[in-house]
């Protein structure tokens, strides 16, 4: 091996390892982030999944309920995750009167103070969408529809 070729080989190896390390570590980070998100995601998500796999039983498990106390979602912004084609179903129980708005799908329903309202629509748009209290502008949930 002559000198320039040697240097080239060494540098290629270096670039590869750096790049692979960078990409590898970000892969890991992605993985940890996902795990973290999954763990952090409250029971709402699991409820949603149960609701989906609830066939065979006479009475499918109730869709998840997002509880609003003092105008804020209990347990922080809730995560709802579905695959395209599923039926998005959840309900909101609120102690303040407001309008619940699902962005993107542009579905909205009014809720009275102390009242509760339920949503059900097909998950036909892929992406991440905010669900918020329209009047106060508070985000209460994040709807995620995977392809």
């Amino acid at each position: 091996m002559n000198r320039p070729t040697k240097i080239l080989t060494v540098l290629l190896a270096l670039v590869t390892s750096v790049a692979l390390a960078a990409c590898g570590s970000s892969d890991d980070e992605t993985a940890t982030t996902q795990t973290a998100t999954t763990e952090a995601a409250s029971t709402v998500e699991t409820n949603a999944k149960e609701a989906r796999s609830g066939d065979g039983k006479k009475k499918p498990p109730a869709p998840p309920t997002i509880v609003i106390r003092n105008g804020e979602p209990v347990g922080g912004v809730q995560e709802l995750e579905y695959s395209a084609g599923d039926e998005v179903a959840f309900s909101v129980r609120s102690d303040v009167a407001d309008e619940i708005h699902v962005h993107g799908y542009d579905v909205s329903k009014d809720v009275k103070a102390g009242g509760s309202v339920s949503f059900s629509f097909p998950a036909e748009i892929e992406g991440i969408f905010e669900i918020e209290l329209e009047e106060s502008g508070t985000q209460i949930a994040e709807l995620r529809v995977n392809p």
Binding site: P4, I7, L8, L11, L12, V15, T16, V18, A19, L20, A22, C23, S26, D27, E29, T30, A31, T33, Q34, T37, G76, V77, H103, G104, D106, E124, I125, E126, G127, I128, F129, E130, G137, Q139, R144, N146, P147
Partner: protein, 464 residues
């Protein structure tokens, strides 16, 4: 205090992060392409000699003649007027007001795209240039001589535009804060900002001359003009012509401050992408420290974001500096300063790829709003329906998540290849010896791989 992620006021829908397998594929293709690029390098510069060839004279007259200039200028001024009026008088709902979508999506994202495809299309429509030329021309006619100008300090170069670019993005994504939550810029604030920018630009044009300021300090002229260098069409001596794509870019960065413009572009797009995912915990941590230090919510939030934008600029500049420094250690290298400005244009394709990767879906969806309800009801008050499209909505099913992912990854990979091409070409021009030219390019290769992998990484964690 819970941290709420950036609520992009305009976007009712956000992209899903690219899946891990696509990330791996994207990164692998980037590496394979890069190694391949090292082995096929050509030995003589191919883009350095700008081969501009004029197109038909009739076409030039029709597109560039005085009637066209007046018409385009008038359209530009009219649309700026509509945007300001809608911002000041229209609804405060960001997504229903013409101003925000027009200024920050249609123009801010549309002009880079059309500049690459069609050349510097912003120039004829630039409302400030039109006003400047009209006033300057009238004064010249009245006084019988052109108005006196200050000499523009050439050392300043494009620095005013680079700083302005960061300021525009800061206004767009940092300034709009309400009660500790980032809510995006309000239409009213956008209208006021447009007026302030108009006053500032016209003053500078009066001081230094319209064309001089457009070349150096006018943020939008410089920024959109930068992307037009990648394309094929250009006007020279009042004549429309074609040239080899990418060729014009080789002479773009000869003005001081050019590297700062392209670095600012990459850094600000990175910040916008990272603030939704990669930086989230860092932003949260910093924000909480500021809250602990008894800062007001608004101040703390803006300060946090400002620090991270600053970090992005420093980070991007550092990566580029390392590459440039590395090249300067190769035998026969020109001085560091010359390398710094000499390779700045090779980052333009990366900047464009970042824009496409981060804003492609937003642009496609939001333009549906622009040409339907925002056009018919610009104030968003529900009182007008100029074209009968006021009740239309955005069809979010137009793009599947998969289509968006492929466009994002393809943009980054193509940007990477174009950047490598430009860098290799410049190296063959700077180093007479081919061996040394090739050796200098290991450094730029590392820089490009870093930017592209970082871009892919941002896509894979955004919103995660």
């Amino acid at each position: 205090m819970t941290w709420l992620p950036f609520a992009h006021a305009l976007a009712a829908r956000q992209d899903l992060p690219i899946p891990a397998w696509l990330f791996a594929w994207g990164a692998s293709i980037v590496l394979i392409v890069s190694f391949f690029a090292l082995s096929v390098g050509w030995r003589e510069p191919r883009f350095e000699k700008d081969r501009w060839r004029p197109l038909g004279a009739g076409l030039s007259r029709a597109l560039l003649g005085l009637p066209a200039q007046v018409l385009c200028g008038a359209i530009g001024v009219f649309l700026l007027g509509v945007a300001v009026y809608a911002g000041l008088r229209g609804t405060e709902a960001p997504d229903r007001n013409f101003a925000l979508t027009f200024l920050f999506v249609t123009c801010w994202l549309g002009f880079p795209l059309f500049s690459v495809l069609l050349g510097d299309v912003f120039r004829p429509f630039n409302p400030w240039r039109a006003i400047g030329r009209l006033v300057g021309g009238s004064l010249t006619r009245l006084a019988g001589q052109p108005p006196a100008r200050l000499a523009y300090p050439e050392r300043l170069g494009r620095w005013p535009a680079a700083i302005g670019l960061v300021a525009v993005v800061w206004l767009e994504i940092v300034y709009g804060v309400s009660g500790g939550v980032s809510v995006g810029l309000s239409p009213h604030a956008a209208g006021v900002a447009a007026l302030i920018y108009t006053a500032y630009t016209l003053t500078m044009m009066a001081l230094f001359g319209t064309e001089k300021w457009c070349r150096n300090g006018e943020v939008f002229s410089v920024y959109f003009g930068m992307f037009s260098q990648l394309g094929s069409f250009a006007v020279e001596d009042g004549r429309l012509g074609r040239r080899r794509p990418l060729a014009a870019a080789t002479s773009w960065a000869t003005v001081p401050g050019s590297a700062a413009v392209v670095i600012a572009s990459i850094a600000t797009t990175s910040f916008d992408g990272a603030s939704e995912g990669a930086f989230l915990s860092g932003l949260e941590w910093t924000f909480e420290r500021f809250i602990d230090a008894d800062l007001a919510l608004t101040v703390a939030l803006r300060l946090t974001d400002t620090i991270f934008i600053g970090l992005c600029v420093i980070g991007v500049a550092l990566i580029y500096l390392i590459g440039v420094w590395g090249m300067s250690t190769v035998d026969g290298a020109p001085p560091l300063r010359k390398l710094w400005s000499g390779f700045a244009h090779t980052l333009i394709p990366i900047a464009f790829a970042y824009l496409v990767a981060h804003y492609f879906s937003l642009f496609v969806f939001q333009e549906q709003a622009q040409f339907t309800y925002l056009l018919s009801d610009p104030l968003g008050t529900g009182s007008t329906d100029l074209f009968g499209t006021a009740s239309s909505g955005i069809n979010f099913q137009l793009l599947s998540a998969n289509a968006i992912w492929y466009v994002q990854v393809a943009a980054l990979v193509i940007g990477h290849v174009v950047a490598l091409t430009l860098a290799h070409d410049r190296a063959t021009a700077y180093w007479g010896n081919y061996r040394q030219a090739a050796r200098s390019q290991y450094w730029m290769l590392a820089v490009m791989v870093a930017f592209t992998c970082f871009g892919l990484y941002l896509l894979s964690v955004s919103n995660a």
